[in-house]
């Protein structure tokens, strides 16, 4: 019953992808920025965790928490203040943001490669506590990752429906012009948005790093999956992004049995292009207004 084990791995993998995708979607829905640098945030978080453990000698949980906080605040701050706000001030177009984000991603990813090398660095020593449930085995990391992610998703749901900040973010996603006129401090809001998005990327990275270590090059693949998930799941609908990512993660793990890993990217992007062509609003999204002059 190997397939059940793959299924469990897929569920965990899918949940991690969902964290990344929701983080990406929060930024994308509110600003339409194709935030490729999200992948670099993910990569950086892994290395920060590594440093917390290896250099500062912090125990696991404080290191993980600190990593998420540090990346969220510093990452979010840097992204907004250095990368995106100057562009917004200039009235830059969406393509400009994307290219700038791509440049930032390339810079950060290679910075980690230059400083830490391209080999995988181990973050956590020793075997994980495993729970043998007969047909499948769950590691403690699996359990914690699933539990924490679930709490995070519930928390996000509450945040977006009950809190003022969350509602402001939704307003911004729905109608940026209107949000401005209603008096929402858009610049500050974008800062919080990038902080939140980065926190989610950091969290995803922490779980993966604790599992398989850190490397400089996984960021891009993951952010692309997040992007595909957002478009397939539905732009403007956060749960859609989560579901899309989850399905992709699941499929990726299950597909390893049938299709070689080499074809995965090709298939993922063919699906993306098909959606862009025939159903750009994604599975759960709503159709956008007609074009006029």
């Amino acid at each position: 019953m190997v397939i059940l084990q793959f299924l469990v791995n897929g569920i965990v993998g899918g949940t991690i992808y969902a964290l990344m995708a929701v983080g990406f979607a929060i930024v994308y829905n509110t600003s339409k920025i194709f935030h490729v640098a999200h992948g670099a945030v993910y990569t950086l978080a892994g290395y920060v965790l590594f440093l917390m453990g290896a250099k500062l000698g912090l125990p696991l949980i404080p290191a993980a928490l600190l990593t998420v906080v540090v990346i969220a605040v510093i990452g979010g701050g840097f992204l907004e203040l250095v990368a995106y706000r100057p562009l917004r001030r200039r009235g830059a177009g969406l393509a400009t943001y994307m290219i700038s984000s791509l440049g930032l991603f390339i810079f950060l990813q290679n910075l980690t490669a230059a400083v830490f090398g391209t080999e995988t660095l181990v973050v956590r020593q020793g075997p994980l506590e495993a729970y043998d449930l007969g047909v499948v085995t769950l590691t403690s990391l699996h359990v914690v990752a699933l539990a924490v992610s679930l709490l995070v998703f519930v928390g996000l749901q509450l945040f977006f429906t009950r809190s003022r900040l969350g509602k402001e973010m939704r307003a911004l996603a729905n109608n940026a012009q209107l949000a401005l006129t209603v008096g929402i401090d858009v610049n500050r809001l974008h800062l919080y948005i990038l902080t939140l998005g980065s926190a989610l990327a950091a969290l995803a990275s922490v779980f993966v790093s604790l599992d398989v270590g850190v490397r400089p090059d996984t960021g891009f693949a993951i952010v692309l999956v997040a992007a595909v998930a957002v478009i397939v799941g539905g732009v403007g609908y956060l749960p859609g992004a989560a579901i899309g990512a989850f399905i992709l993660g699941l499929a990726q793990n299950l597909a390893v049995i049938e299709i070689s890993a080499a074809w995965q990217n090709t298939i993922a992007f063919t699906i993306l292009i098909l959606f862009l062509l025939f159903r750009p609003q994604g599975i759960f999204g709503k159709k956008l207004a007609v074009r006029g002059a």
Binding site: A289, V290, R291, G292, A293
Partner: protein, 259 residues
């Protein structure tokens, strides 16, 4: 006699009926003005005529030929030109290039011709002369080499008019061309419209500036909430109670915001 005819045109946006079974015609060599409060559907009608939006039902005929269903560039080549609400000039092209680009039938637009036939043909010279004539007409000869980006808003407006003239279109759809212009420019632009029609063209105008409308229109069509409620000669329409009802409250707003 009727250059353009809309028969029972309708257009919905979601639940909103923007154009509600509208019928009217535009006479050859006249200035017809389409007026009405904001949101009445005037620009939507222009979009329908230009082919930027599809009609839900009804027909649009130009010289007796159906326009609806044709792609926008095809409608343009049939002889319908349009000035958009925003000047939308080609920012990185010069004033001269902006107008030159609009001149139809240039062989060099075919990529193979572009690569292999030598430049400086008679056709190129004729096109250039045409452009210079238009520049003289809109009084922008001195700015021929200026980048469109660097022009003032008013100058961009004049440029976008010159641009549409260069297409050789016979029916000109002008969408609120005087918005944002100072009095002198409004006067100058209206004069140009007048001269253009005297030269044999036809204009369908959307305008909020009542002075302009009353001053140059040969015929008025009043659109309210997607329906034609009134039409006729300016003197007949001007004091009609229906018109006052439609505009009550909006005229003040229009004047205050210079629209």
């Amino acid at each position: 006699m009727a250059l353009l005819e809309i028969r029972d045109g309708a257009k919905d946006f979601g639940g909103l009926r923007a154009v509600n079974h509208v019928s009217f015609s535009v006479s050859d060599r006249k200035i017809t003005s389409l007026i009405g409060p904001n949101g009445a559907g005037k620009t939507t009608i222009f979009n329908l005529i230009s082919g930027l939006l599809p009609l839900d039902s009804g027909e649009i005929l130009y010289r007796g030929r159906r326009l609806d269903g044709l792609p926008p560039h095809r409608i343009a080549t049939l002889g319908i030109g349009r000035m958009l609400q925003d000047p939308r000039v080609f920012r990185h092209l010069t004033v001269l290039e902006n107008i030159l680009v609009a001149v139809p039938g240039q062989r060099g637009e075919n990529p193979l011709h572009a690569i292999f036939t030598p430049r400086g043909s008679r056709q190129d010279a004729a096109a250039l002369e045409q452009v210079r004539e238009i520049l003289r007409f809109i009084e922008m000869e001195g700015q021929a080499a200026a980048l469109a980006h660097d022009l003032s808003f008013g100058e961009q407006r004049f440029l976008s008019f010159g641009r549409v003239l260069a297409t050789g279109a016979e029916l000109l759809l002008l969408d609120e061309p005087t918005v944002g212009l100072d009095g002198a420019m409004v006067h100058r632009l209206s004069e140009l419209f007048h001269k253009t029609v005297q030269g044999g063209k036809t204009i369908l105008l959307i305008e909020h500036n009542m002075k302009v409308v009353m001053g140059i229109s040969d015929y008025l069509i009043v659109l309210v909430e997607g329906q034609v409620i009134l039409e006729g000669a300016p003197e007949a329409v001007r004091n009609h109670p229906e018109l006052l009802k439609a505009y009550l409250g909006t005229t003040h707003v229009a004047e205050r915001h210079g629209r």
